[in-house]
């Protein structure tokens, strides 16, 4: 479904992502794990067109995404939920969700699916996004991304700013989505949560993929446990 080959991306003179290759198959949940500044955000932004890749290829359903502007990539079915969420703060929950379906025009059925996943959003329908709690904003950000019926849902650290319980809840809803067959690519520092969710994972450091494999294998890998899970 998504195929990234030898991707270089960065800012100004310097590269933050070097020759990264990864793939996500339909129905898979894939995690990209790494510490602060490893290049996770840069990688996702280069895939979804918010940052122009310097080199390499990105193909989605066998069409190239390189050089396409972000709004067109979104219309092709790649939804991205940034860590900062980028909601529309002075608009209601309903307006935010409806904008998520902008290219499709409002979509009642999809709205019901989002409410099934996040019943809380139904209660908050007329509340302004900017006045909601962090956990609620996270739900809204994911809900808005789902409104476009994306082929691939990409999330950057969906636990950002959430208390541990809420972080677990956020991953529980991603688990539900995964169970329903949604294809997910998630970048995360909270490695245990991400590896519980994912089928496969990539470890990125200094902008390079260091390791990859089934999530279960990485969970058991002593290097991964020491570096990311605080276990000796």
């Amino acid at each position: 479904m998504l195929q990234v080959e030898d991707l270089d991306a960065g800012y100004g003179e310097s590269l933050a992502v070097h020759a990264v290759s990864l793939h996500v198959d339909g129905g898979e949940a894939v995690a990209v794990i790494g510490s602060n500044g490893a290049g996770k955000t840069t990688l996702l932004r280069a895939i979804c067109g918010l940052l122009r890749p310097r080199a390499g290829t990105v193909t989605f359903n066998s069409e190239s995404l390189v050089g396409e502007p972000a709004h067109r990539i979104a219309r092709r079915g790649v939804a991205y939920v940034p860590a900062e969420r980028h909601l529309f703060p002075a608009m209601s929950v309903q307006e935010n969700l409806e904008l998520g379906a902008y290219p499709l025009r409002a979509d009642r059925r999809q709205l019901e699916l989002v409410f099934e996943l996040f019943p809380r959003l139904r209660d908050l329908l007329s509340q302004q996004a900017g006045t909601m709690s962090g956990g609620e904003q996270q739900m809204l950000a994911v809900g808005r991304a789902l409104m476009s019926r994306p082929g691939l849902l990409m999330l950057d650290e969906p636990t950002t700013g959430l208390a541990p319980i809420l972080a677990e809840e956020a991953y529980a809803s991603l688990g539900v989505l995964r169970g329903e067959g949604t294809t997910v690519l998630v970048a995360e520092q909270q490695v245990p949560l991400a590896l519980d969710l994912a089928d496969r994972a990539y470890v990125i450091e200094d902008g390079r993929i260091q390791m990859e494999g089934p999530a279960g294998d990485l969970q058991g890998n002593p290097d991964v446990r020491r570096a990311y899970m605080g276990i000796a």
Binding site: G49, L50, P69, A70, H71, R85, L87, P89, A90
Partner: protein, 283 residues
């Protein structure tokens, strides 16, 4: 009472003059210092065309000309401006649109030095709550009010209007929803040209517009925009009403020659109390 009515009437016109400017700022962080010149361009076009066309056709054509001039600006000057970010973007927009303002001013003043847009609505004054109001003034208010109401309905309740607000509130969020900010900016730039033209029509109904008025209109629009909060449509309306009242009161009670100074003082006080403007978000 009469002063208040006149103030509200003028305030609505100021609001109409400023909304286009404030939306463009909200969408791309740029200021168009040729905004008043677009208004005058429409006014002169309408005045010139009225000799040959029936008035309604001349009005539509004049507004269309202002919208097209704005479109041309977006396709040329603004392309370069939007390529930059942050402070450089605002600065380049200021420099280039001042240049454009000079060009439009020059062309209009040279070619139409004595042309004036003056639209009269014949008939005796209409009595409103005991205050006699001139028909032209009422027509201008009705025009400004309905244009502003339509704009607000468009922004709040239509799909495309929401797309405009989404880019104002979070450009990256809008892109992630499949909305092309460049297209939204182009459409709103054209709209702002037409709205400036409408503001000139309202001005033509109450007094007159001539080729030399561009700079004053730009300055007025700028003051209203800043007082209302850059990027806020509701703020522009509110600031328009406030400044309209201040303007007419100072004309009546103090004197015409200091009104612009008093407007600037009002703006200054507002900014000192609320640096982001009446309805501005943060700074």
């Amino acid at each position: 009472m009469a002063v208040v009515f006149d103030g509200v009437a003028y305030g609505l016109q100021l609001g109409l003059l400023a909304v286009g400017l404030t939306m463009i700022y909200g969408l791309g962080g740029v200021l168009n210092l040729a905004h008043g010149q677009f208004a005058v361009l429409a006014a002169i076009a309408i005045a010139v065309l009225s000799d040959r066309l029936p008035t309604p056709a001349a009005l539509v054509a004049g507004l269309a000309i202002a919208a097209l001039a704005a479109l041309a600006t977006d396709a040329t000057i603004m392309r370069a401006v939007y390529r930059l970010d942050g402070e450089a973007r605002v600065l380049l927009s200021l420099l280039l649109t001042i240049g454009l303002a000079f060009v439009i001013d020059g062309l209009l003043i040279y070619n139409y030095p004595f042309t004036q847009l003056k639209l009269s609505v014949p008939g005796p004054a209409v009595d409103i709550l005991g205050v006699p109001m001139r028909r032209g003034s009422l027509a201008a208010s009705a025009l400004a009010l309905s244009a502003l109401a339509l704009l607000i309905v468009f922004l709040r309740y239509t799909r495309r209007g929401r797309a405009v607000r989404s880019v104002i509130q979070d450009e990256e969020g809008a892109q992630l929803c499949g909305i092309d900010p460049a297209r939204v900016r182009t459409a709103v730039f054209a709209l702002s040209g037409a709205l400036a033209g409408l503001a000139a029509v309202a001005e033509g109904l109450t007094s007159s517009v001539s080729a030399t008025d561009g700079t004053e209109l730009t300055i007025l629009a700028l003051i209203v925009t800043v007082v209302g909060g850059l990027g806020s449509v509701a703020g522009a309306l509110l600031a328009g009403l406030l400044l309209g009242l201040v303007y007419t009161m100072s004309q009546v009670y103090i004197g015409t020659y200091v009104t612009l100074v008093i407007l600037l003082l009002t703006a200054m006080v507002t900014i000192l109390i609320r640096p982001a403007g009446l309805l501005g978000r943060g700074v």
